[in-house]
Symmetry: C2
């Protein structure tokens, strides 16, 4: 009998720039691959190059970009792949559109207060946005609509990326998309060191 | 042991408008699905809506469109799906780029003399292209670069779509991407009636 664990799913990371979408999704990717799952990450930046060259940051262009990512996630998901989207995706309506189209869909809200992101500002983007050098910057000069009922919420202001990834993976098990035993073959319940080592080897942390 | 038949492949249909790309690819899709394979068809028209809205028909825009289809075919192929692209894809260089990127790639040249297509003109597009109502129409006012060494050639001027589909499927077996036994479970070597019936039921012919 086919179970949910044989089906694909789209894991949709949404959140402000610097909120941990790419970092956490990469850890989740590595663990799921190690556990034998088929996984593809559609990161916002990769997609802007390969699917959405020429699109800007108006609401219309952002929505088009997010719909395209959704279209590809849908193709992968219905063929048994775990598709991981990591894109700011600031507008609720288009996220919900993708959710409806895809069906097997878990929204991961990467929650972090804007003050923390501005303070951290790893890429220096917030400084540029606040000075007006970058226009239409989500959270500063462009809106971000928080998810109302995300299946998963992670918090980069109070969790390490490894802990956030663990929360995501546990929820995937809970929703039936990932088999607990298969996941445990990669790292045990107390064995955070093992996954950390593996991620270090891969150059992720 | 993993064989080619467990891997995905991209089947890339190229040819002029009306040369049978969509028709034949749909038959191939149905048969492969019936045989239990994971299949996705990326038809030029569907892709123009979902991935390439806003792109026109200049060389640059056509190439961008074809690269996007290639990007998606690659994601599917490396996850064990048979990805079928059906797009005019007039330029050799970008078809070869996709071939190189994807690796598991079979080019299907839908060969048909332009005179036959103009005579047939099912959608009335050639008439409009010849009168100048449609600009940049491949084969009339825009170039088409024939494949030099396609793995498969089909000819809609001298074959029925069912025969063409059969040629494609046989070649897939020959190249090791499809298992002969599995295919035979859908239709036997003399049993063209069965596939015809199945396609009729599905409303394809």
């Amino acid at each position: 009998m086919e179970t949910k664990a044989d089906r694909g799913v789209t894991l949709w990371f949404t959140g402000l720039s610097g909120s941990g979408k790419s970092t956490v999704s990469e850890i989740v990717e590595v663990v799921l691959r190690d556990a034998g799952y088929k996984v593809e990450v559609l990161d916002g930046d990769i997609v802007r190059t390969n699917l959405s060259k020429g699109l800007g940051f108006s609401k219309e262009d952002r929505d088009l970009n997010i719909k395209r990512i959704g279209f590809v996630c849908n193709l992968l998901t219905r063929n048994g792949v775990i598709a991981i989207a990591a894109a700011i995706s600031p507008y609720k309506e288009v996220r919900d559109y993708n959710r409806k189209e895809i069906g097997d869909f878990l929204e991961v809200f990467c929650k972090c207060p804007i003050e923390v992101l501005i303070e951290r500002d790893v890429k220096g983007l917030y400084k540029k946005a606040l000075s007006g050098e970058i226009k239409n910057f989500t959270g500063v000069s462009d809106p971000y609509e928080e998810p109302e009922n995300p299946e998963i919420t992670i918090r980069s202001d109070s969790e390490t990326p490894e802990v956030s990834a663990r929360i995501v993976l546990d929820k995937m098990v809970e929703f039936g998309y990932v088999d607990k035993e298969r996941l445990m073959s990669v790292f045990g319940s107390e064995d955070d060191e093992k996954i950390k080592k593996r991620l270090e080897d891969l150059g992720y942390i």
